[in-house]
Subunit: 508 residues, 2 copies
């Protein structure tokens, strides 16, 4: 976001938030030798990342019962640490947290991530208030309590107390909480468990993550500051926001409006139902509020709302890999009639237009038929159904016609791999063509066995998000059209597209 001028107060927020992501020194209070303990896993994450050269700050374990942990000299308390401490990660029982915060104040700590739970969410509001008061008077910025803190794939800050692997009873080691590769998606979440589930999901779909931040009870740092921070974060292109309740609506509106002009923000807001709102209250103490109010609020500021978890992640994949659509007219290319109809149904349900192609485009398909390049029995009005006789050549030629049709703003390719003559190179061919154009392309292949996995993974590697159902592909195209419409309304479409293309170019 080099083109964004940064007001002074924003600059100061960025500087303060930076401590959570790029600390020069970190103390883990409650660091432990005990294998399964949170204080062990977190300290070890830092140690491992420091050895890899990823985490570059100073690192101090604090625990009065240990002399050293993993080769690091252990300090009995924060004030006794030899050296500055910018950031503390607090992993001790709730009742001792106020004392730790007083120590942190003495030590001149700038920021604290309080992982410990046992505060407002279980009725210990008074304890929480004490922690808040100490932090405020000392000017310490706080994440949490009752949170996961930060995972940063670029700087090696990893406060996730969930170990990357687990050992099964038979002795096999398996990935349990994967750390996703560096990427462009940031996750901002009130629910820690959900944050971890998110990185497991995204890692499995080969989508890289820039930073994850979990707020928990958010006694201090909340959504608005974090959104501002991510607006100016070069690595982040898409922001995923999981919320149960937003406290300062006005501030959220101000910030979200700024951010969504430059980067898409996708929100999953839960506690929609009565029982759900009750559950949210006992989860993070969030007041879920009337769902319709959130709907209106999000729409107003260009936040793209997901209806459920899967849609949330599907939207992220689309926005991370493809540009927005300049209009809502969609072309569908398929080798399977039934799935083609499913995609059409979902497109229309989402406000996209799957209209009959222009005469010119229909004529170009007729020419291909005349030349024997696509089957004479293919349908070519939209969807284009190349039928079970499809080959990679046919997919390529048909995609080219749709990419060149100025009346089509986005393309859904449903390439079911089962057809006998279709080779595995068709994702590569379509991706190569699509690079010469700026309209979004999304793909779908149905199936859960080898070839389907390969095709979807190959598409993803080529920056074309590939889904396992036609409806998922259609709704992902819808979010690209919706974000495009919002940017146009704000007069920012061209600027966004330019910045997006520059960024994609820089990644190649």
């Amino acid at each position: 976001m080099s083109e964004t001028k940064m007001p002074e107060d924003e600059a100061s927020i960025i500087e303060r938030m930076d401590v959570f992501f790029k600390p020069k020194s970190v103390a883990v209070v409650g660091a432990s030798r005990g294998a399964g303990k949170a204080g062990h896993v977190i300290f070890r994450n830092f140690v491992d990342n420091k050895r890899r050269g990823l985490f570059r700050g100073e690192l101090y374990p604090v625990n009065p019962n240990e002399d050293s942990i993993l080769g690091y000299r252990c300090y009995p308390s924060l004030p006794e640490v030899v050296g500055d401490v910018e950031l503390v990660v607090v992993v001790v029982p709730a009742r001792v947290v106020p004392g730790i915060m007083e120590d942190a104040a003495k030590k001149g700590v700038k920021a604290a991530a309080i992982i410990s739970s046992g505060f407002g969410e279980v009725g210990e509001g008074e304890l929480e208030a004490r922690v808040k008061a100490i932090a405020q008077s000392a000017g310490i910025r706080v994440l949490g309590p009752n949170c996961l803190g930060v995972y940063d794939s670029y700087t090696g800050v990893d406060m996730l107390f969930l170990p990357e692997t687990k050992t099964l009873s038979v002795g096999n080691v398996v990935i349990a909480t994967p750390r996703p590769m560096p990427g462009s998606v940031a996750i901002v979440t009130q629910s820690g468990a959900f944050g971890v589930a998110a990185i497991d999901y995204l890692a499995g779909h080969e989508i890289g993550v820039s930073r994850l931040v979990s707020f928990g009870n958010k006694i201090d740092v909340a959504e608005p500051e974090m959104l501002l921070y991510l607006l100016h974060d070069r690595e982040t292109r898409v922001i995923l926001l999981y919320v149960e309740g937003i406290e300062d609506g006005r501030r959220f509106i101000d910030v979200a409006e700024k951010v969504t002009k430059h980067k898409p923000v996708v929100a999953l807001k839960t506690g929609r139902s009565k029982a759900g709102a009750r559950a949210a209250l006992s989860h993070t103490g969030a007041i879920a509020g009337t769902d319709r109010i959130y709907d209106g609020l999000f729409k107003q500021v260009g936040v793209l709302r997901a209806g459920n978890m899967e849609e949330f992640f599907d939207m992220a994949r689309a926005l991370a890999l493809q540009p927005p659509a300049e209009g809502n007219s969609i072309g569908i290319l398929t080798d399977a009639g039934g799935p083609g109809i499913m995609a059409v149904d979902e497109c229309e349900a989402r406000g996209l237009d799957v209209k009959r192609f222009s005469d010119e485009t229909i004529r170009r398909f007729e020419d291909l038929k005349g030349e024997g390049k696509i089957p004479s029995f293919a349908t070519n009005y939209n969807p284009v159904d190349l039928t079970g006789a499809v080959t990679s050549d046919m997919f390529e030629q048909a995609a080219e016609i749709l990419l060149e049709d100025p009346e089509i703003h986005g393309i859904i390719v449903l390439g079911l791999h089962h057809t006998p003559a279709l080779q595995e190179d068709y994702p590569d061919r379509i991706a190569r063509l699509s690079k010469a154009h700026t309209k979004p392309v999304v793909a779908c292949d149905i199936g859960e066995t080898e070839m389907a996995m390969y095709i979807r993974s190959r598409f993803t590697k080529l920056r074309i998000p590939a889904y396992s159902s036609p409806e998922d592909a259609a709704r992902s195209m819808a979010v690209l059209a919706n974000y495009g419409a919002y940017l146009r309304k704000r007069g920012r479409f061209d600027e966004y597209l330019r910045s997006y293309l520059e960024w994609v170019g820089s990644q190649a």
Copy 2:
């Protein structure tokens, strides 16, 4: 369905349909030596299954240009085949199909699956009418044309022209169109491509399939007869129905009402939108009809309608593995607050009730807290949130309380595996408990890497369908409640449950 008395006309329909699934003799007209050709793949499927002892009928290739194929003597035409032919599979160009059907009539063939396309769906209505007239006057029952025919995991009838494996350009062989293992789900589909996609999906989710039948242009055999057939089919417990349009609504209603009292029928009806209806017309010539009419029709006869493809399959998994719910009061058990709220939201959106537990159940949880068996900060009003401190023991004890609560009719277990102390045996423990009860249990674990895959797969093996999002789990519970409500309305709940439990017992 031994308890169902079969009227005489039904018995005769079953006998005629049996020829498609259990033919004593099959001729493949258009059998070929050419590796990629449909006529080769289909013939080879039969040859392979005969060698395995799975297909037990006689087998004849018919092709005037070959002497033998895969060791089988090849006949120039049907009338020249030495031996009876009950069923023909027709894989020749559309224009020669009428001649083949005349030959079939001469030969005394009982049934024909016409795989070939190039009929009504591409404007060749006259050709289609000729084929139909020949078949009718000869009393030959016809599947298709423009269809995939039949796949039967029990009898080895496999007309799928999509090869099981493909060889990638690097030389590696991968599964492309898996043949699912024998199981209890039948697939009845108008779209062939969708049928294949369905078995790829179900195979990947380890759900067995009894039979798949694809109708295509359905000039003869259509949904009603096939539903009747499957009603009396011992292997089939759940029927999946993909339709673009139903012609004989009255007949469909009569039959569907009969079937749904004994076996759940799940329908995916596409062509809902205007553009979708247009696409359906050019796909299989189906008149999609007003969507609301179908909605009403399905509801009236107890057909469970899926909103999209993924829901369709998710519903199948739930109904294949779990009994229906006797009411709509659902208990949710989780180790992750956020996902718990998502499940609650979706439950309420689907008409399920996630009400505060009874005093007795809340007290039982308080007792566990008192004994230190679950965390004191766990919430226990519904959802039960055992938090990130969960262990397998805690999941087991909490599940037991919910299973024993007579006011709860179904349980959703959201066991996110990421929590540090949760062992991989919790699916086994929950499954063991649930066997002593008749209320449905569904599960969810979020993530796409190793441990999540293991947990979901393990649950599935133990007959608990496990989904990758809380909303998917909730909507699957909803279908179990909806089917339960329909059965109760018809006074068939107890009978269904008894028959279901007997069947599960026989599988163990």
